[in-house]
Amino acid sequence: MTGIKNKISAFGFPRLIIMAFLGLLIVLMFLMDIPAPLTFSQCIVRVGINMVLGLAMVPGIMAGTGMNFALPLGIECGLLAGMISLQFDMTGVGGIFAAMVISIPFSILAGLAYSQLINRVKGSEMMVSTYVGFSVVALMCIGWLILPFNHPSIVWPIGDGLRTTITLEKWYDRALNNLWAFSVAGVEIPVGLILVISVFSFLVWLFMRSRLGLMMKAVGSNPEFAKANGIHVDSMRTLATVISTILGGIGIIIYAQGFGFYQLYNAPLMMAFPAIAAVLIGGATPSRVTVFHVVFGTIMFQSMLAIATPVANSLIPEGNLSEVVRTIVSNGIILYALSRMQGGKR
């Protein structure tokens, strides 16, 4: 009996609830005659486009800066690169990769600057990073207004600045999703997308097992141990912040192509939270994470949201029930993780 109990607590109570909830949603979906293949297709896409944003949480947690609430920093870098790719009419899969490459120098610069701050506020990283993220989003709101973009399809026809939402039809709308895509029993398999996220997951996995990755891990799990082994704690934290920012930038480009839009201005404000929630649902803690946690968590969380949307809509057509569910689940899981941190090192 106690054996079962131990196993449950090791697996994590909230994970069980979410799995049960997901199961219930799937049952409801069939009961309510919601077309399953379509929903599953959407599931796969949602999981895919959110995966890299989840991976961006890995370096921060490894290096002990905790969950990267400043993910919007990377996202803004990615959006800036995306706008440049649109401005110069880079299309297709090539355009997507071009945007990713362009985003990297921005992310490196932003990450370096930001790590200067984060290395000075050890112990309060989460709170500071949240508000740094918010500040950057607000600052870039001004940026979107005054930056010299002039492609007629991305700026407002009248007035100043970029549009709030930019559809990607003319450039690379779902280009990765559709690459080598095929369907099985009505379920669309976006091979290109899956391939790309697999490559990123694999790279992160490789990194975690490399000498540098192991050094970063030591910094996160025990900074004193790291110091005693001749590791510069601050430079590892800087590296982690830069990598996280780069992944955030690439993540938003993959997200946008799969979604079909770039959303500017206030859209990135809260984007760190679902990514954090997904990683936590996968079994990560604010001090320990694996690639499996990210993959499993993103699958669970995004599938839940993808299936909840049609189910909620057929239950109560008005209002946005699935949005409410998202708010409750994602913040609930973060609260749970915070309350379990006590007694840990940080």
Binding site: L206, L214, A218, N222, F225, N229, I231
Partner: protein, 534 residues
């Protein structure tokens, strides 16, 4: 002195999971008497005080045996609050003072003088107003009883450190029912003149009829202040006598105690050549709580060099300083070259290795498996156990497996396998992993701090034997820091005793007990200089 004892410890026994830490402690204290409680670190003093204060560490580990008689009644103290209610007060080593509050408010903390307000008549005592005048008045009175001129309205953070101790005592004597005051190494942070004043102050308290238990390592103070002395050693009460009937040397001798068997001193008569692998001079390390001020010594190649001394006097800071864990100044010469110890990882690169005294805090990655912990330093410093690809490397668990298995066998590490997380191991086995980690880097010189702290006897012996073995067979020079003098004496060639942040003297393992004890209590400097030069 009244005829009835205020407090009587009757045959007190205590063990932590089978480890006996107190055995048969018996002594009495009378009102107005000052009893000095002496003994080495780990002799059981703090455990005895924890029992007296009903701390939860005691109850959580199965309570204690024996009786405590307070004012003629058998008492079972369950919590510090109960102890306070009985009239037992304690001044801790760390100050229990709120820096932003005034001296007066600190003295009256949670015993403030209150006056009812309009709101409190309805909403309760929480809303009564503080009576600032009465608080300041009481504080003034208490400070005056100690003969101290401290303005009760200054905030504590503006107070010199030396005065804080007095504020703490003022807080205790302000309690109307105070009958017994326990002082835990109260003079450790005080300058000489402050300490003198402090002793006067304690005398005044005792003259008011309050009994005092005085824990101190400074034997001069013990002799000056205490009416009687109780000495604990390895949990046993070895001495209880009037101060008048004893002397400093006897106390020192008794504290260290144990007769050592001649054959247990392994390295007492090794004559090593005058070839110094490490020279430390005027080394000063700023390690909080363990500061060293000016340390100089030389270590011979192939030697086992011991560093001993009391906690808080700076012995552990030396190896920490050499490995860049805390800021330090002074010169360290290793193999004839100056060591840039300030640079993180420099010592490791030069072929030195370190086993920290803080096993869990510094020595291990608790959530990671034994194998990774063991090879970590070698992987990090010497880039071993890695598979190299074009532009990245991967940890190679196969090549590390062999040496890990070997170490597990060699050190007899009890585990389910090399992949068990070290956090699940017992303290002794964790320590073995730390030693293995250091040795896998194949160091020329190994620093080990407190290698046997908090581990069982079996593991202790294995570790010490192993250190002796690698020293003999592989010729690894060892610098061993330990609070356990006997352990140092049993394996070392020479032992430096650190006190007040400097080297008080360097002794051979077979030097008389009393020499060790006097050096430790900081009284050996003058007569140890000649020994230092040997």
């Amino acid at each position: 002195m009244s005829s009835q004892a205020l407090l009587h410890f009757k045959n007190i026994k205590k063990s932590f999971s089978g480890n006996v830490v107190l055995d048969g402690v018996n002594f009495e204290i009378y009102p107005g008497q000052v009893v000095a409680l002496a003994g080495e670190n780990g002799a059981g003093k703090s455990t005895l005080m924890n029992i007296l204060f009903g701390m939860s560490v005691i109850h959580d580990t199965g309570g204690y045996e024996g009786e405590i008689i307070f004012e003629g009644k058998n008492v079972q103290i369950q919590s510090p609050q109960e102890a306070m209610a009985l009239g037992i007060g304690m001044v801790h080593q760390e100050f229990m003072l709120l820096p932003g509050f005034t001296v007066a408010r600190n003295i009256k903390l949670n015993r403030e003088n209150l006056v009812p307000s309009v709101v409190s008549r309805i909403a309760g005592k929480n809303y009564e107003l503080l009576d600032q005048g009465a608080i300041i008045g009481d504080a003034k009175k208490a400070l005056k009883r100690l003969g101290m001129e401290i303005n009760p309205q200054t905030t504590v953070d503006k107070l010199p450190v030396g005065h804080m101790q007095f504020v703490e005592i003022a807080r205790e004597i302000d309690k109307k029912n105070l009958k017994l005051l326990v002082l835990d190494e109260p003079t450790a942070v005080l300058t000489e003149s402050e300490a003198e004043r402090f002793l006067e102050c304690i005398r005044k308290v005792a003259d008011e009829g309050i009994a005092v238990i005085f824990i101190s390592h400074r034997l001069d103070e013990v002799m000056e202040l205490a009416d009687s002395v109780v000495i604990l050693r390895d949990g046993q009460m070895v001495f209880s006598e009037k101060t008048a009937n004893t002397n400093k040397h006897e106390i020192a001798e008794l504290m260290v105690g144990r007769k050592l068997e001649a054959e247990s001193l392994i390295n007492v008569n090794r004559n090593l050549p005058e070839d110094y692998i490490l020279e430390v001079s005027h080394f000063k390390v700023n390690m909080p709580g363990e500061k060293s001020k000016d340390v100089s010594f030389r270590v011979k190649r192939g030697e086992i060099f011991g560093i001993g001394g009391l906690a808080g006097h700076g012995k552990t800071s030396i190896s920490n300083g050499i490995f860049g864990m805390y800021p330090a100044t002074g010169t360290v010469t290793y193999e004839g070259k100056q060591l840039q110890y300030g640079r993180v990882g420099e010592a490791l690169k030069k072929g030195m290795a370190f086993v920290s005294e803080d096993r869990k805090g510094v020595g291990l990655l608790l959530e990671e498996p034994i194998s990774l912990n063991m090879v970590y330093t070698d992987m990090r410093v010497n880039r071993h156990f890695l598979k190299k690809y074009v532009f990245f490397s991967q940890f190679d668990s196969q090549s590390s497996g062999q040496i890990v298995d070997e170490m597990i066998r060699e050190l007899d590490i009890r585990c389910t396998g090399p992949e068990q997380p070290v956090g699940r191991l017992s303290g002794g086995n964790q320590q073995k992993v730390c030693v293995a980690r250091a040795l896998i880097t194949k160091p020329k010189i190994l620093f080990v701090s407190e290698p046997t702290r908090g581990i069982d006897i079996g593991a202790k012996q294995i570790l010490l034997n192993y250190l002796v073995k690698i020293n003999k067979e592989l010729g690894i020079t060892i610098v061993m820091t330990s609070s356990e003098l006997n352990e140092l004496r049993s394996v070392c060639d020479r032992i430096a005793i650190i006190g007040q942040g400097i080297v008080q003297g360097i002794l051979k393992p077979d030097s008389p007990n009393v020499d060790f004890a006097l050096l430790m209590s900081g009284e050996g400097k003058e007569n140890s200089n000649d020994r230092n030069k040997e």
